[in-house]
């Protein structure tokens, strides 16, 4: 660590760091447009110029490495004037079409103008005319007039995807970003371009003109669409109190995590968010009940507890079968393991996950479920459902997840399940699969509950609810903790589990892998 002075205040910073990063650490934001922490400094926007004692010129904060006792001014008159000048240049050739720009409210050019600009335009000349609506990717639109040539997009495609679909063409004021010979951006990370564009030059048709960014709340979550566990922001419209605007998820963005996904997410994770809202089950469904009428989870849990208890007392636990999946959190899988494997000694435990996909060699893995590693660490042997083995001698089936229908035809499923007397399903969705079960209980997705997941590299990541679960949906950890209590085999054990945190704490005591991971 060395001491430097930023705006006269002494600051201890890491040796070898840059002025921009050191300032950021000290809570001082130095405006920048071309600099992005994922790439080496580019130095082209000239927004981050600062004054350093002993240097005749203003120096770049993004690339200048700190030296012992360096005295840096980030707010001196000279610095502010230079920033103003850069903004004046950028805005001179900018179309200023903010009212119809998707990036409005989420635009660095707007933010910096508000902070350092506020001048009257002196530009009396004719602005350059460029392409306003170039389709450069499946859902990407490039507006060359809004582009400030920070080249973040070009560098992303050069350094991250190494696909190089974009380049800078022409020279001087005619410089513009474009694709080569009509070949559009085709890679599984294209959506990141709209996100790293600091202005409204690259926008995404998936989001364009659907809402205004300032209505959206950014909620932290983890992408469940593969075993990478990329950190994401779910951008959610919470609705208006006085107008009929539905609550809705509008887009997914990457959330920085250097250990897991860096600054990026793949397009599968970005655009595949319809699973959050489409076809969700929001109430308990009773298709067939033997005996009393049950309507609430409270009643159902009593009923299930009794049912399982009876089988257990009659030494008929062998007649119980279980279908699990690895969208369940560590805590949920742990509770299942305790109740059914340890206490009830159930042997027929199968998994029904979405079928394997092709990994892309970067973030996207071949497992389209987020917690396979967690299931393995907890002690499950991941056996895919075998319908014959499942139905053979089974009296009672507890099935979790909607993924059975992706593995078998409805006819085959019906044939097998018809052989089982009692069947209960916990599912996210309302679909034909539900008709095969006696009771269907709607449950919360990862985005709607708390818990933790173990990603492909063994990193345990906790998450909190980002969205409200629909209707009567419950988180499975709650369902399982209730069931554990109702069973009465080891009720005390389950009583303390009032939150996933408490469960993870217990897991740390029991499983070495989860020690100190809560």
């Amino acid at each position: 660590m060395i001491k430097i002075f930023i705006d006269k205040d002494p600051v201890e910073v890491e040796e070898g760091t840059t002025v921009l990063k050191a300032a950021e650490r000290a809570g001082i934001h130095i405006p920048h447009l071309c600099y992005h922490p994922a790439f080496p400094p580019e130095g082209s926007c000239r927004m981050c110029l600062v004054e350093i004692e002993g240097f005749p010129k203003l120096e770049l904060a993004c690339s200048t490495v700190v030296k012992k006792d360096m005295k840096i001014s980030t707010k001196s008159e000279r610095v502010v004037e230079a920033r103003k000048a850069v903004l004046e240049f950028l805005l001179a050739e900018h179309p200023l079409d903010c009212p119809i720009c998707d990036k409005a409210g989420d635009c660095k050019l707007q933010d910096y103008y508000d902070e350092y600009g506020l001048f009257e335009s002196q530009f009396k000349e004719v602005k350059e005319k460029r392409e306003k609506k170039l389709k450069i990717g499946k859902t990407l639109i490039l507006d060359q007039e809004r582009c400030i040539l920070c080249t973040r997009c070009v560098r992303f495609l050069r350094e991250v995807t190494e696909t190089q679909e974009l380049g800078v063409f022409h020279r001087g004021v005619h410089s513009s970003v474009n694709i080569y010979d009509g070949a559009t951006v085709v890679n599984n990370y294209a959506g990141n371009l709209a996100e790293i564009c600091p202005v409204g030059a690259i926008t995404d048709e998936d989001f364009r003109f659907k809402t205004r960014s300032w209505f959206l709340e950014k909620r932290e979550s983890i992408c469940p669409l593969c075993s990478r566990g990329c950190n994401i922001l779910i951008e959610y419209h919470p609705g208006f109190a006085r107008f009929e605007v539905p609550k809705k998820v509008y887009r997914i963005k990457a959330r920085e995590n250097p250990e897991v996904n860096g600054f990026w997410i793949c397009d599968r994770g970005r655009y595949g968010y319809s699973y959050l809202e489409e076809g969700r089950a929001d109430q308990i469904i009773l298709n067939k009940i033997d005996g009393e009428n049950v309507l609430t989870w409270e009643n159902i849990s009593e009923y299930l507890g009794e049912k399982i208890k009876r089988l257990y007392s009659a030494k008929k636990a062998t007649g119980i079968a279980l279908i699990l999946h690895t969208w369940l959190s560590n805590e949920e899988l742990f509770l299942v393991h305790k109740i059914f494997k340890e206490d009830l000694k159930v042997e027929k435990i199968f998994f029904a996950d979405p079928p394997q996909i092709e990994a892309d060699g970067y973030l996207l893995t071949s497992d389209p479920s987020p917690n396979i590693r967690g299931a393995l660490e907890i002690g499950f042997d991941i056996k895919t459902v075998d319908l014959d083995a499942l139905a053979d001698g089974t009296d009672f089936l507890l099935a979790f997840g909607p993924f059975l229908s992706g593995l078998f035809s409805l006819g085959d499923l019906k044939e097998a399940l018809d052989k089982i007397k009692g069947k209960v399903l916990f599912s996210y969705y309302s679909n034909e699969l539900n008709s095969l079960f006696d009771i269907v209980i709607p449950v919360a997705l990862i985005a709607e509950k708390a818990g933790s997941l173990t990603n492909v590299d063994g990193i345990v990541q906790s998450f909190q609810p980002a969205l409200e679960p629909p209707g009567e949906s419950l988180p499975e950890w709650k369902v399982l903790a209730d069931l554990g209590k109702k069973l009465g085999i080891d009720s005390k054990f389950f009583e303390k589990f009032t939150s996933p945190d408490a469960i993870l704490g217990e897991m740390g005591k029991k499983i070495t892998f989860f020690q100190e991971k809560e």
Partner: protein, 412 residues
């Protein structure tokens, strides 16, 4: 003592052929340097000679070479023959008249710095000269001055000619490297400097044609002789390229420190019939303009800096009283607006903006505030750009606008 160094034998027929060159004592410097001197001794001699870069910046060549760090990576020499600075035409004379002198300089420099591959980056328009260089290179290979085990010294060197594609910015050393690597010619952020991280990320020396061409003469005659040819802190002669409204435009090799007045009126024959001197651009278009009463100045690096101008590429552009300064400004701003690479904001947009204002003034639509706008915008470019092109544009624009403000205002 003979006056000329670089251009001494230029009148000689077929000097560009190796036999003729050798008859004039050619390649003696190579033999001396590679057989009788150590790289350290050569470096010492070049440092003592105070040979400053002839491309424009005037950085001492020996010091530049000594910045090359001791690494295992290959090292490269790039000879900057892009000669893009408007008004400059000295390097083309050297390369077309005496290519072997340049090759000798390349060989000795490479031997001194430990380089086994050298590139001559020549502007695309110099096609005939590039062919002549290639001819000279193949002659040198035949005679054993290039290739393996040069003059049986154990030293190997290959030289390649690379033609540019017509961008002013590729004369900037880091843009030159990008272009040579096959990329868009955009300048790189410095540091790191090319001496440590240059061509293909390897240590690289970049020198101008004229700079390198001085090396064999320093080796043959010594640093003391070289300094006597010029000034103590600024050794050797300089090839001044005089253009514009003079009787005899052309190149004039003269000692550093010769007065501008003498160059124009003694050597270049004075103003053309009926023309009066109005202004002089003393060091290529980027150099701040001098008015007619400033021409008593000595033409060396330090004297011109003192006069708030620069020696640059020593290209002297002589402007007469009939030439409208607005036309001069129009040419200057059009050029920089056209040649800005577009990478950094102030240069990309600032130069275009200024050019748009100047064009509007020339169309008779000037506004009272335009002159102040030009000054303000040029000041906002100066010192704030990624590479020296921003300053190269702002300096002449500022000096022309300040020194000839009254004349410009008469167009509003």
């Amino acid at each position: 003592m003979k006056e000329k160094v670089l251009t001494e034998h230029f009148g000689l027929e077929n000097l560009y052929k190796i036999d003729v060159y050798q008859k004039q004592g050619g390649y003696r410097a190579t033999e001396k340097a590679l057989k009788k001197m150590s790289p350290e001794e050569i470096l010492e001699e070049v440092k003592k000679a105070n040979l400053r870069g002839r491309g424009g910046a005037g950085f001492p060549a020996g010091v530049k070479w000594s910045f090359v760090p001791p690494t295992d990576k290959p090292r490269y020499l790039c000879v900057n023959a892009d000669e893009g600075e408007p008004g400059t035409f000295k390097d083309r004379y050297i390369m077309s008249h005496n290519p072997h002198m340049l090759l000798e300089g390349i060989i000795i420099t490479s031997f001194c710095v430990g380089i086994n591959a050298a590139f001559i980056y020549i502007r695309g328009e110099y096609e005939a000269i590039a062919l002549r260089l290639e001819q000279a290179i193949s002659e040198a290979y035949e005679k054993g001055f290039l290739g393996k085990n040069i003059v049986e010294s154990g030293f190997d060197l290959d030289v390649y000619v690379h033609r540019g594609a017509g961008a002013y910015i590729c004369g900037e050393e880091t843009a030159l490297l990008e272009s040579l690597e096959g990329k868009r010619g955009n300048p790189r952020l410095k540091p790191p400097f090319p001496a440590s991280v240059g061509l293909w990320q390897c240590p690289t020396v970049i020198n101008n044609v004229e700079t390198i061409s001085n090396i064999p003469h320093i080796i043959l005659n010594g640093a003391e002789w070289f300094i006597k040819k010029g000034l103590p802190k600024d050794g050797g002669t300089r090839i001044f390229g005089v253009s514009g409204m003079v009787k005899n435009p052309g190149i004039y090799e003269l000692p550093l420190g010769t007065s501008l007045k003498d160059i124009i009126f003694k050597h270049a024959g004075g103003m053309k019939e009926g023309k009066k001197l109005k202004a002089v651009i003393p060091g290529g278009m980027s150099a701040p303009i001098l008015t007619a009463d400033e021409i008593g100045i000595k033409m060396d690096f330090d004297s011109l800096v003192e006069a708030n101008s620069m020696l640059g590429s020593a290209a002297i552009i002589v402007i007469d009283d009939k030439t409208s300064i607005l036309d001069v400004l129009k040419v200057v701003t059009k050029f920089y607006s056209h040649e800005s690479c577009g990478q950094c904001t102030p240069c990309r947009i600032g130069n275009s903006w200024i050019n748009k204002i100047v064009k509007r003034i020339a169309e008779g639509k000037g506004k009272k505030e335009d002159i102040d706008s030009i000054l303000r915008l040029a000041s906002n470019i100066e010192g704030n750009t990624l590479c020296p092109l921003g300053d190269a544009a702002a300096m002449p624009i500022l000096s022309i606008t300040k020194k000839f403000r009254k004349e410009l205002e008469s167009h509003l």
